[in-house]
């Protein structure tokens, strides 16, 4: 199971990376509303994101663009994301049809998640009122990734892919008014990379009060996955869910037992637990309870080994 990737499709559209101004690209560009546009400026001989953005505005009918992904935005040395946020926000009126936005479609081959110098994304959320889907990738080390509580009438899917999601951001999501929100996925990460949210910070999400239409909840990739599972076992939001993910974290038998002895989960069409530390008998009991074809109990192999630093249990995505 691969958790971090360049998506091949986004919002149901094939992802197409815009050729740079000096790219020898002879094929005609696809129709503006036929693809999800991906902008990447890095490692292209002096191309800046600013230049690429202007090239995008000049060569694509942006009034019809429905989905946009921002890839590596720096040149050689990593740079902060703030200027990209400012550009997007300043030209929001040029993208009236934008429904889906992916901020920082970057994989570790390009920059480690925890090194992405993310920014406060609130201006973008506020500027694009028609936005229905927002994915944000990056960590909160040094507090760079931030969000203030927002009210957004259209947002249906919100996902944060992170090796460390700041507690302030988690609280801001809980304090936001997102009446249309159907899918919420938070990769909480580890304290070492700024993921300092506690179960207490998740309380508004677990109550389900702020998001009346929520159908999918993912509280995953956490080093306190057992505690989260214990909270889920009695969380009011669960009865409204169609699917739940507690995957990618350090979920072990403690969490599994809490789920088994807690409120019914049999209404779930999918329970994603992939990358876990649950013993075989307990994962089988969970599968039997919810339905074997509804539980993803896949294990993951370690990719790296750092003898000085690694502990026995680790989350799928951190650095």
């Amino acid at each position: 199971m691969t958790d971090i990737d360049h998506p091949e499709t986004f919002r149901g559209l094939p992802v197409f990376t815009l050729p740079g101004p000096s790219d020898e690209h002879t094929e005609p560009l696809p129709a503006a509303d036929a693809v999800a546009w991906r902008l990447e400026s890095a490692w292209q001989d002096g191309l800046t994101f600013d230049l690429l953005w202007r090239h995008f505005l000049d060569t694509v009918d942006t009034t019809r663009v429905r989905a946009l992904l921002v890839g590596p935005w720096w040149q050689e040395e990593y740079t902060p994301f703030g200027p990209v946020i400012a550009l997007l926000t300043a030209h929001a009126e040029r993208l009236p049809a934008l429904r889906a936005l992916f901020l920082a479609d970057v994989v570790s081959e390009e920059c480690e998640l925890s090194w992405l110098e993310m920014a406060d994304i609130t201006p973008v959320v506020e500027a694009f009122e028609g936005l229905e889907e927002l994915t944000v990738r990056g960590c909160g080390e040094q507090g760079a990734l931030a969000l203030r509580p927002v009210r957004h009438p259209a947002l249906r899917s919100l996902r944060f892919e992170s090796g460390g999601l700041p507690s302030a951001l988690v609280r801001a999501i809980g304090a936001s008014e997102l009446p249309a929100l159907e899918r919420l996925e938070l990769w909480l990460g580890v304290t070492e990379y700024g993921g300092d949210a506690t179960v207490g910070d998740l309380a508004p999400l677990l109550s389900g009060a702020g998001f009346p239409r929520l159908r999918h909840l993912g509280l995953q990739n956490s080093e306190i996955q057992d505690e989260i599972a214990a909270a889920i076992a009695s969380a009011p939001v669960v009865t409204r869910l169609e699917s739940l993910s507690l995957a990618m974290g350090t979920l072990g038998d403690t969490g599994a037992e809490a789920l088994l002895s807690g409120q019914p989960l049999t209404h779930l069409a999918a329970l994603d637990l992939h990358h876990h530390y649950i013993s075989d008998p307990l994962i089988k009991r969970l599968a039997a309870l919810v339905g074997p074809d509804r539980v993803n109990g896949e294990l993951d192999e370690a990719e790296y080994w750092d003898a000085e630093e690694d502990e026995e249990r680790y989350v799928a995505i951190s650095e």
Binding site: T2, A42, W43, E76, E110, W115, E303, Y304, E308, E319
Partner: protein, 388 residues
């Protein structure tokens, strides 16, 4: 000076070539080549052990066509070339290079003296087994390669971590590969990234024990402190280091991808995709063979050209005209539109059972059969053009 491979096989014009392989007896490379020769209906290959070459007892016959194969996977040969007891040790590649290139020169001399034809060139071997020289040759010929501050014979030697760090800063390269100048199979390679002072991360197959000795490990390691990285780089440096920009590779389902393209007699004949979740795609380090058709489709869909990608490999191989076969590591950049050559390998043809690319002329042939066919083809051309 050996007779060049392009002058046709030894022996009288029109005679079936008789192959000799300088290699490790019983090694699969030698076996696979022998199988291809037999399948072509030619006389059995005569194996000339590297051990004999190194002991000065190797001899060739006047009608022979001599192929060099890898001296690897033989502890006795390794000991003589590298002066280490444990073949999993990383150190000793500078000595290996000096002794190996001298041995190849000796093969060429003995072959020439006997009137045999060598399918490789000692001069080109000297370049192919020095990543700094190889980089300069490719760069000088306009073949796209990742930028390098250690390119060519004139570049200053890298004496340790302090030098690497200084080069990275001076050349604005926060992400580089640090490689042994004479390494192979990702031995002694670090994929190194930095961001500002003190932030460093390296992925490597090098394992450093408490006594400071270096070993090739099948398990990739992450080093996240400058102290760890410096200790490894400092220990590698005496054998010679090559530094080049780490261009992010294109990814397939979260796995970085590159290609090994085999070029035989100037023609790209075979290609495999290697994908990995780590920056090192070598198969023994967790890399997997990927789906070539999928890659071709990805290149096409992104507006790139598969033919251009292959022609980059052929242009790289063309810098080694007296070497019958090379394996080119081709690095696709993210987005699949640009390609660069990572390395050119003299013994890069070990891809058992892989058959040739459509339209390459080697359809249905493995890399060894394609080389035998190329030699026969040259013999045919030689016969056709020889005055009657």
């Amino acid at each position: 000076m050996s007779r060049s491979a392009s002058s046709g096989p030894g022996g009288p014009p029109g005679a079936a070539p008789r192959f000799a392989v300088v290699g490790v007896p019983g090694n699969r490379r030698v076996t696979l080549f022998g199988d291809a020769v037999r399948a072509a209906g030619l006389p059995a290959v005569r194996v000339v052990p590297w051990l004999d070459v190194l002991r000065g007892t190797a001899a060739f016959r006047p009608d022979e066509t001599v192929r060099l194969d890898s001296p690897g996977e033989d502890p006795g040969v390794e000991r003589l070339l590298r002066a280490v007891e444990d073949p999993t040790r990383v150190e000793g590649t500078a000595l290996w290079y000096a002794r190996f290139t001298a041995a190849v020169r000796e093969v060429a001399r003995a072959a020439e003296e006997a009137g045999a034809t060598l399918l490789d060139s000692p001069q080109e071997v000297t370049v192919l087994f020095d990543k700094r020289l190889c980089h300069a040759v490719l760069h000088g010929a306009g073949v796209p390669v990742p930028a390098s501050p250690t390119s060519g014979a004139q570049a200053p030697a890298v004496r340790g971590w302090a030098d690497v760090r200084a080069l990275m800063t001076a050349h604005g390269m926060p992400r580089v590969f640090v490689k042994l100048a004479h390494g192979s199979s990702a031995s002694g390679v670090l994929a190194l990234e930095t961001a500002g002072p003190g932030r460093v991360r390296a992925t490597t197959s090098v394992e450093r024990d408490a006594g400071g000795r270096l070993f090739n490990s099948l398990r990739l390691r992450r080093c996240t402190t400058e102290r760890e990285v410096a200790a490894i780089v400092d220990a590698l440096a005496p054998d010679g280091l090559h530094v080049e920009r780490w261009l992010p590779k294109a990814t397939v389902r979260g796995r970085a991808a590159d290609l090994r393209v085999v070029v035989v007699a100037g023609r790209a004949t075979h290609a495999v995709v290697r994908t990995s979740r780590s920056p090192l795609t070598n198969l023994h380090l967790g890399g997997e063979r990927g789906d070539l058709d999928g890659i071709r489709a990805a290149v096409r869909e992104s507006g790139g050209s598969w033919e251009d990608a292959l022609s980059v490999c052929e242009r790289a191989a063309a810098r080694f005209p007296d070497t019958l076969c090379v394996g080119v590591d081709l690095l696709p950049s993210t987005g699949w539109r640009r390609f660069a050559v990572g390395e050119v390998n003299a013994f890069g043809d070990l891809l058992p059972r892989l058959t040739g690319l459509k339209g390459s002329g080697a359809e249905g042939q493995d890399t060894y059969a394609a080389q035998v066919a190329a030699v026969l083809n040259r013999a045919g051309n030689h016969r056709a053009t020889a005055p009657s």
